[in-house]
């Protein structure tokens, strides 16, 4: 009797696992089947031309890369830094509790609210306007909790004995953090970064009113720098815009490219994490 119950439960668990797997493969497959015919060399390397009536996402790809890199440049040092401060320097108490609470809350806020704040604060108050920089600052706020939390969790799993071992040999606290803690916590930190990249790639609501929807490529060398202060729509933003204009084939093309990017970055970070994990 007991056996039978166990077997049935096991069956259900397998079923659930299969269903989840099929759903994922189904979605991926659907997007790729609908999207790939749309993806041509021209689609990837040109920008949309209204005159010629052609679609191209080169500008959006560049914007996406800018957005990912800039956001990480802002959020990763800040996130890792605050995690180190909270875990290794701050005395547990009211302030640490408050910061932890704030971080937690920050990660639960709907992204459109970040968009609103980013537009008003970075865009208007700081005068950055509709620009990639405004978008990156806004997204940095959004992914900061992910990086901080994952780094903190990783630091917490590093045995206390490593810390006392290093300190007892005369290592300064910062030296100990740099040489022992951060390497040991690296897999967790990479996980945080991976999740952050996922959010950046997928975000549209917070970017529509901060980074806008520009899709042109820079025309000169200086243009690549000026671009930071110009409007630029990421792939996800363009996807949203294409859907709202009922250009579904373009939308699926973008979706396929986005998925490839996500898979690629996942793979890359997985390889990195393995490398760090050897010891």
């Amino acid at each position: 009797m007991r056996r039978l119950k166990d077997d049935m439960l096991l069956c259900l668990i397998y079923l659930a696992a299969f269903a989840a797997e099929f759903l994922l493969i189904g979605i991926l497959g659907y997007v790729f089947v609908k999207g790939f015919p749309q993806v041509s060399w021209h689609f990837l390397t040109s920008v949309t031309s209204v005159l010629q009536g052609t679609a191209g996402i080169a500008g959006n790809i560049v914007n996406t890369l800018y957005m990912v890199i800039l956001t990480l440049l802002i959020a990763v040092p800040l996130g890792i830094g605050s995690a180190i401060y909270l875990n290794e320097y701050a005395r547990p108490g009211k302030i640490v509790g408050l910061i932890a609470f704030t971080t937690e809350t920050l990660s639960g806020i709907p992204s459109i609210l970040f968009g609103l704040f980013g537009m008003v604060f970075f865009g208007s108050a700081l005068g950055l306007g509709y620009s990639i920089l405004t978008g990156a600052f806004t997204l940095a706020l959004m992914v900061l909790p992910l990086i901080t939390r994952n780094t903190q969790e990783a630091l917490k799993t590093v045995p206390e004995a490593y810390r006392s071992g290093a300190l007892s040999m005369g290592a300064g606290r910062w030296h100990m953090i740099r040489t022992i803690l951060l390497p040991a916590a690296m897999p967790g930190i990479l996980t945080g970064i991976l999740l952050a990249v996922g959010r950046i790639l997928g975000e549209s609501a917070a970017l529509l009113f901060t980074a806008g929807s520009g899709y042109f490529l820079p025309r000169s060398f200086g243009g690549w720098f000026r671009k930071l202060l110009e409007s630029g729509g990421t792939l996800s933003v363009q996807l949203y815009l294409s859907m709202s204009k009922a250009q579904y084939s373009v939308a699926f093309g973008i979706a396929a490219v986005l998925l490839c990017m996500v898979l690629g970055i996942n793979l890359l970070l997985r390889i990195l994490a393995k490398k760090w994990d050897v010891v």
Binding site: Y162, M169, G170, I180
Partner: protein
């Protein structure tokens, strides 16, 4: 006229309101093994951690009195904690090799204190591993993770790591309590060799071990040093009846 390597004067330590060490006056002789014995919670580790100022890291700790290393007040103004910890090494109860290669574990300390060439580091690594009697076992796999060693090997690696910065004093907090008998024996033999060049203070739960390896023994009870004498005298003619009771196994 030989002065003690480490001398404490009216040393009192409080963790919050817990009075963990009470008026400890001790003079530890150089180049001998001094054992600290006593029931758990009596302040042996606290005393040990005071000598390399690892107690500074504890919240709410209050340290009163003086601790001298070669006559210099280690809590005095001129004392650089980094230098102090280089001179006073520590081995912990649980072997705690870092998650890196054997080589990097040993090189960790020397790299903190000054820039060294690869050749110098190679030399230090080999010398330290030899001193800790583990060279033969690991010489083939210096670049393998230290976490793959056995428990006893890990502890000898940690001893080698502590020796690599050429300390003067070696503090060991129950260094064999997590080890099997064979590894314990190896570490004990090691102590007898090392005392020629180092001043060693070892906390132990095990009275046979104290009798085997140490020259001097201090008996701690509830934060006080009840009796402190040569090991031979303390074990054969204890003057205090609490010492007599403890070494005959009546409590602890």
């Amino acid at each position: 006229m030989t002065q003690g390597k480490v001398i404490t004067k009216k040393l009192n330590i409080y963790y919050g309101s817990n009075h963990a060490l009470k008026d400890v006056d001790i003079s530890i002789r150089r180049n001998v093994v001094t054992a600290l014995i006593g029931p758990s919670g009596c302040g042996k580790s606290t005393f040990l951690k005071t000598i390399n100022r690892m107690n500074d890291l504890v919240d709410n700790v209050r340290i009163e009195g003086k601790v001298y290393l070669d006559g210099a007040d280690i809590y005095g103004r001129g004392m650089d904690v980094t230098r102090l910890r280089k001179r006073v090494g520590m081995v912990f109860q649980q072997p705690n090799p870092f998650p890196m290669s054997i080589y990097d574990n040993i090189a960790y300390g020397p790299r903190i204190h000054e820039r060294k060439s690869k050749a110098q580091l190679d030399e230090i690594v080999e010398r330290s591993l030899r001193q800790a009697a583990i060279w033969e076992e690991v010489r083939e796999g210096l670049y393998q993770s230290a976490l793959r060693l056995s428990g006893g090997q890990k502890q000898r690696l940690c001893i080698a790591r502590a020796l690599a910065v050429e300390p003067e004093v070696l503090l060991m907090d129950e260094p064999t309590s997590a080890l099997d008998p064979v590894s314990t024996l190896k570490v004990e033999e090691l102590l007898c060799h090392l005392k020629k060049s180092y001043t060693i203070v070892v906390v132990t739960h095990n009275m046979q071990q104290a009798a085997r390896v140490s020259d001097d023994t201090a008996f701690f009870l509830a934060g006080e040093v009840v009796e402190y004498d040569t090991t031979a005298r303390l074990f054969s003619h204890p003057t205090d009846k609490r010492t007599r009771a403890y070494i005959s196994g009546k409590f602890g």
